[in-house]
């Protein structure tokens, strides 16, 4: 064996530098990993959603099971209870399917706030903390364009949005599919699945854009967090008050949340509970909020200077 020493302190890098197509991926995965480091918030924020999903799934399943004359033992044994519940739930097949559909939509509307909370919690610091701590000085000295950077950050928020707004709905749909007799849910109400995905994505994109925007404007995460809630609550409050005062439901378009709810009723093809207001206006409102958010984000990122 020939003797040799390797005492050089600095070793040159002999590997390859690839120009990957999707430059934002390492940033996205690293940010997601950092975000999920702390277990407690993860558990606390996902728990209500998980519990809600389980309850609604069970209710859907129970509904189908009762209708089939086979009540689940969890509801307690005995035909008496079964018949009571059976009477409470209309026993006609078509209506049962509609019930499942309504259940899913109600679930969405009920859990809107939770997925908003998720996106706000994990998304508030996404640009604010980077700027506060100077991380952008490190990122932009890399072959990473501002667009790549923003895309990665947006996708971080959107990941939580999808987990909170799309996945639970899909879980309930899956349960409904398997619980319904002869896949009737899948055969006759399959559009609910598409609507679930569609609305979930729409809600995710809307909220993520607004959260990204607020994060770019705030100087630190806590301010951004407050800011996100402020935006949603103030717009909803203003919209409702104006609508009541002017007796014109169209004012609801001022609020992104209310506009989204309006779109939900359309996407899921339901009869609206309130006076149905202008659908085009709702779409425009959502579109406008997304556009304005991204414009502001873009303007703010241009001011993130690397060398001072």
């Amino acid at each position: 064996m020939k003797a040799s020493t390797h005492t050089e302190v600095y070793r040159p890098f002999r590997g390859e530098l690839t120009t990957r197509r999707m430059r934002f991926v390492p940033l996205l995965s690293s940010n997601l990993k950092t975000a999920t480091k702390k277990r407690l918030p993860l558990v606390l924020l996902f728990a209500p959603l998980a519990i809600g999903t389980v309850i609604f799934s069970f209710t859907v399943y129970a509904g189908f099971a009762i209708q089939a004359g086979d009540p689940p033992s969890a509801l307690g044994g005995g035909a008496s209870i079964a018949s009571i519940i059976g009477q409470a739930l209309v026993s006609q097949r078509t209506q049962q399917l509609i019930q499942a559909r309504e259940m899913i939509v109600n679930f969405h509307l009920a859990t809107n706030m939770f997925s908003l909370l998720l996106m706000a919690w994990y998304g508030a610091g996404v640009l604010a903390e980077d700027r506060r701590l100077g991380a952008h000085l490190l990122y932009f000295a890399r072959p990473l364009s501002r667009f790549d950077y923003l895309l990665a950050k947006f996708l971080v928020i959107a990941t939580f949005g999808v987990l909170g707004a799309v996945v639970p709905g899909l879980v309930i749909c899956t349960v409904a599919t398997f619980a319904s007799p002869e896949w009737s849910f899948l055969r006759e109400e399959y559009d609910v699945i598409f609507s679930t995905i569609g609305f979930g994505l729409l809600w995710t994109v809307l909220v993520s854009s607004i959260v990204l925007c607020v994060s770019s404007l705030a100087s630190r995460r806590s301010f951004a967090l407050v800011g996100v809630f402020a935006v949603f609550m103030l717009t909803s409050a203003t919209a409702s008050i104006m609508a009541a005062m002017q007796r014109d439901s169209d004012f609801r378009a001022l609020s992104p949340m209310l506009s989204a709810v309006r779109l939900a009723t359309s996407i899921f093809e339901l009869k609206a509970r309130h006076a149905s207001w202008n659908l085009t206006l709702a779409w425009s409102s959502v579109g406008a909020y997304i556009l304005i958010s991204w414009t502001l984000v873009w303007l703010r990122t241009r001011r993130m200077d690397v060398v001072q």
Partner: protein, 311 residues
């Protein structure tokens, strides 16, 4: 200059009416170069240009083989440059290893290469066990070393170091300057060191570029800019100063005196004659030092000369 890694010719960049860079030209070969200049001289703009963050208005430039006038090149050239920012910069809630690793992957290294390389550079800068801790809690010295590590991870041929010794105590400063010296002289990197601490620059760099108001007002080796003055020496003694003065006169040496510090003008090639005088006068020599202008003197002189030129 076949081995110039950076070649700039007549480069101009303006912001509205302000000429941040006014037709500057220089070449950077492997080795450390100090970038000096008063605040507002255009150093920031130059750094941004070298990092491909700005498009030049006119002139030609080649940075590691890329042309910053082309948009695509401006992005990819960053894989060949390492930048150590002056300001505080951290990625929130990540450890040193994760930070350096992510940045390496963003530069184009594969995941395994990135991790291997991250550990190597962290070894090099001297961050041991603490590399697994979140860097939010690091001391100033550790943060500076981390900044250097992330600039080195992709082994770029060009390094831009902005005030690397900021906030470091004397020991930390020495360690950092040793690393800078090693990178420039031994590893052969083209290193641009921006610092207001001229002794640091003198210690690490062979050449300097001095900017003022967007122009290069001086460029060249520190050696050339700080020539020794012809045969003038500073001498400190302890003992009978008057006797020493008499002996110097007897030997025909011109002198100026300030208490026990003397400024002598010698004729020959060396200073042996000073010891002749000391022996005869029975005084103790404590210091014999050829007078050499410091980089600071040269810097001040160059800048005021530039001022006069314009007037």
């Amino acid at each position: 200059m076949t081995d110039s890694v950076v070649s700039i010719r007549d480069l101009t960049k303006s912001y509205g009416k302000v000429r941040a860079l006014d037709s500057i030209s220089f070449e950077l070969s492997p080795g450390p170069v100090g970038l000096l200049g008063p605040n507002g001289a255009g150093k920031t703009t130059l750094l941004k240009l070298l990092l491909g963050l700005l498009e030049p208005d006119s002139g030609a430039a080649t940075i590691a083989g890329y042309d910053p006038r082309k948009r695509a090149d401006r992005l990819t050239l960053r894989a060949r440059i390492g930048y150590m920012p002056e300001s505080d910069c951290l990625i929130p809630r990540t450890s040193a290893v994760e930070l350096v690793g992510t940045l390496a992957r963003l530069t184009g290294l594969s995941a395994t290469d990135a991790m291997t390389r991250a550990h190597e550079v962290l070894d090099y800068v001297g961050l041991d066990e603490s590399r697994y801790r979140d860097c939010d809690s690091y001391s100033t010295g550790m943060k500076q070393r981390l900044k250097l590590a992330q600039a080195l991870v992709h082994d770029p041929p060009i390094l831009l170091l902005d005030e690397p010794t900021n906030g470091l105590d004397p020991k930390g400063r020495r360690h950092m300057l040793d690393l800078v010296w090693d990178l420039g002289h031994v590893q052969g990197k083209s290193l641009l060191l921006c610092s207001h601490l001229l002794p640091d620059v003198e210690r690490c760099c062979r050449d300097v570029i001095v900017l003022k108001k967007g122009r290069v007002v001086a460029q060249g080796s520190i050696e050339a800019l700080t020539r020794t003055e012809a045969r003038r020496v500073r001498v400190s003694i302890d003992g009978d100063a008057d006797r020493f003065a008499t002996e110097l006169e007897r030997l025909g040496i011109a002198s100026e005196r300030d208490a026990n510090d003397w400024m002598l003008r010698l004729a020959g090639d060396d200073c042996d004659v000073v010891f002749d005088a000391a022996l005869a006068a029975a005084v103790r020599i404590q210091r014999v030092e050829p007078v050499r202008s410091t980089l600071e003197d040269a810097f001040v002189k160059t800048l005021s000369a530039a001022e006069d030129e314009r007037a």
